[in-house]
Symmetry: C2
Subunit: 302 residues, 2 copies
C-alpha cells in the first residue's frame, strides 16, 4: 500500500510548499501583525498538501520550473486553507480542532479568523497574478480565471452553501440523494482539486486534450477522496484524523457511507481510482507519482 515513489514526492512537495508559503505571505509587522500571524498559522504546520502535489506533479509532466509550479501550488493551498478557516467558524461547522491544533478562531479570535480567511483569498490571487508565477500574462490570467471559478459560487463556495442546506434538510428528517451529494462534493471539494491538477497543465502550456485528461483524473480522485473521507469519518479515530469524527452522520447529513453502505462506498471509491488512473494513459511523461496519488487517496488512514 505504501508507494515509495509517491511518498517521497509527497514529502518533497509538502516541504517545498511549507518553505514557499512564508515567502508569499505578509511578514508579520506593525499593527497588522496579529492578522499576519493568523494567516500564517492557517497555512503552515500541517495538511497533507495533496493539492500542491497535484499542481506540481501535473506541471512536472510539461517541464515547468519548480519555482513557478510551487508558487501556483502555494496559492491554491492558501485558497484551500482560507476555506478551512471559514468552515471552522462557530456559525459554520463550529470546530475547535483542525489538524490536531486549535482552529484559527480559537487560537486568535473570531473576527481575526474572518479577516485571515479573507486575506488569504486575496493573497492567492495576488500570487497567481504576479509575473514571478509565469512570464506570460495570458497564462497568469487563465490561472486567475480558473481559481476564481473553482472558488466561487459555482464552485467551492456554492458547495458549502449546499452543505448548509443539507444540514437544514437533515433537521427536517430529509437527506440529499446520491446525485445531489455528488453535486455537493463536486463543488465543495472537487472544483479546487480538479483545478489544482489543471493548473499544472496551464502553466505548462499543455494541449487541450492533455489538460482535459489531467482534469478528469483529478475530478475522479476528488470524488474518491471525499468518499474515503466519509469512510474515515465513519470508522476513523479522532487522534489519527486530528478532528472530530462521526459528526456528519451524527448531524443526520447524507454521507456516501449512509447512501451506499460501507462496502458500496469502498467499491465506488476503488472504481473512481481506476478511472482516474485510466485518464493518465492519455498523458506522455512519467505519471508514476499521479498513479501513486490516486491509490493513496483511498488507502490513507487519515
Amino acid at each position: 500500500m505504501s508507494d515509495p515513489l509517491f511518498q517521497a514526492a509527497l514529502a518533497e512537495v509538502a516541504a517545498a510548499v511549507e518553505a514557499e508559503l512564508p515567502r508569499l505571505l505578509p511578514q508579520p509587522a506593525g499593527h497588522t501583525a496579529k492578522l499576519d500571524h493568523a494567516m500564517a498559522y492557517a497555512c503552515l504546520g500541517g495538511g497533507k498538501r495533496l493539492r500542491p502535489l497535484l499542481t506540481v506533479a501535473g506541471a512536472d509532466l510539461f517541464g515547468v520550473a519548480r519555482a513557478q509550479s510551487l508558487r501556483a501550488a502555494a496559492a491554491l493551498e492558501m485558497l484551500h486553507c482560507y476555506s478551512l478557516v471559514h468552515d471552522d467558524l462557530p456559525c459554520m461547522d463550529d470546530d475547535d480542532l483542525r489538524r490536531g491544533r486549535p482552529t484559527v478562531h480559537k487560537a486568535f479570535d473570531e473576527a481575526t479568523a474572518v479577516l485571515a480567511g479573507d486575506g488569504l483569498q486575496a493573497q492567492a490571487f495576488a500570487v497567481l497574478a504576479d509575473p514571478a508565477t509565469h512570464p506570460e500574462p495570458a497564462v497568469r490570467v487563465e490561472l486567475v480565471a480558473g481559481l476564481a471559478a473553482a472558488a466561487g459560487p459555482r464552485g467551492m463556495v456554492g458547495g458549502q452553501a449546499i452543505d448548509l442546506l443539507a444540514e437544514e434538510l437533515a433537521g427536517q428528517g430529509k437527506t440529499l440523494d446520491m446525485a445531489e451529494i455528488g453535486h455537493l462534493q463536486a463543488l465543495k471539494t472537487g472544483a479546487l482539486i480538479g483545478f489544482a491538477a489543471e493548473a499544472g497543465a496551464i502553466l505548462g502550456g499543455a494541449a487541450m486534450a492533455e489538460r482535459q485528461a489531467l482534469r478528469s483524473y483529478a475530478d475522479a480522485i476528488g470524488l474518491a477522496f471525499q468518499i474515503a473521507d466519509d469512510i474515515l469519518d465513519h470508522e476513523g479515530d479522532a487522534a489519527m484524523l486530528g478532528k472530530r469524527v462521526g459528526k456528519d452522520a451524527a448531524a443526520g447529513k447524507a454521507t456516501f457511507v449512509g447512501l451506499l453502505g460501507l462496502d458500496g462506498a469502498r467499491a465506488r471509491a476503488a472504481a473512481l481510482t481506476s478511472a482516474a488512473q485510466q485518464h493518465l494513459a492519455a498523458l506522455k511523461g512519467d505519471t508514476g507519482v499521479l498513479h501513486g496519488l490516486a491509490a493513496f487517496v483511498i488507502t490513507r488512514r487519515s
Copy 2:
C-alpha cells in the same frame, strides 16, 4: 453645492452598475439559490456607487468603452460589498442595519453571510479575468493584481485588522494617533478607492504619469471621504445615513473629529479636496465629473 454635471454622472453610473451587477452575479438556481440571493442582496439596492463612478469616469478620460469599464466597476463594487457583509457580522461590527435595510446576516443567516462575502470576492476576480472586461490578457492580469493588493493583508483587510486593534486599545483607554489612524484609513478604505480610479487608467492604457495622477487624486478623496464620514458620524442622523451613528466615538475609538476637533477635521477634508482637484490638472480630457466628485465627498449629507 449640488453640481448638476456630477449628479447626472453619478445617477447614470449608479443605474448602469445596478443593471450590470445582476448580469455578472450567479443567477439564483437550484440548491445554491439562497447563497445566490444573498450575494445579489449584498450588492443591489443601494449604495452611492462612488467607486464605480471613479472607475468609469477615470476610464472615460482615455476613451474606454463603457461595456468594459462598467464590468471593472461592478467587480470593484462586488469586492466593496463583500467587505461590508463581513464587516457587519456579529463578530465584527455587529450591525443589524445597512443602507436602511437588514444586513445580510440578519436577512439571511450568519453562515450564508460569510459565504456570500467569500463568493463575492471570488466573483470579483472572475469578472476582471474574463476576456469581456478587456481583450488584452496583460491588462486583465494587471487589474487582478491591483485588486488583490488593494483587497489583501496590506490593503483593505489589513486596515480592518488595525481597526480591530484600535477597538482593543480603546478598551484599555488608549487611542491611535493621527498618523496611525491615517494609515488605518489608507488601508481600510483608501486602497480600494485609490485602485478604483487607477483601474480606469489601466483599462485605458494610460501613461504612468496620468495613472499616477488619477491614483493621487483618488487617494486624497479617499481620505477626505473618511474624514467626512467621521464628521457625519459625529453630527449626522441615523435615518439619513441608514445606519447607527456615533458608534465609533461611543466605542472609544480614535476618530478624525476626536483628534482634530470638528473644525480641524472640516479644514483637513477641504484641503484634501483641493489637493485632489490639483492632481486632475495633470490629466487631459474633461475632468469635470471627477472635480465634482471631489467636492461632493465633503459636502454630502449621507
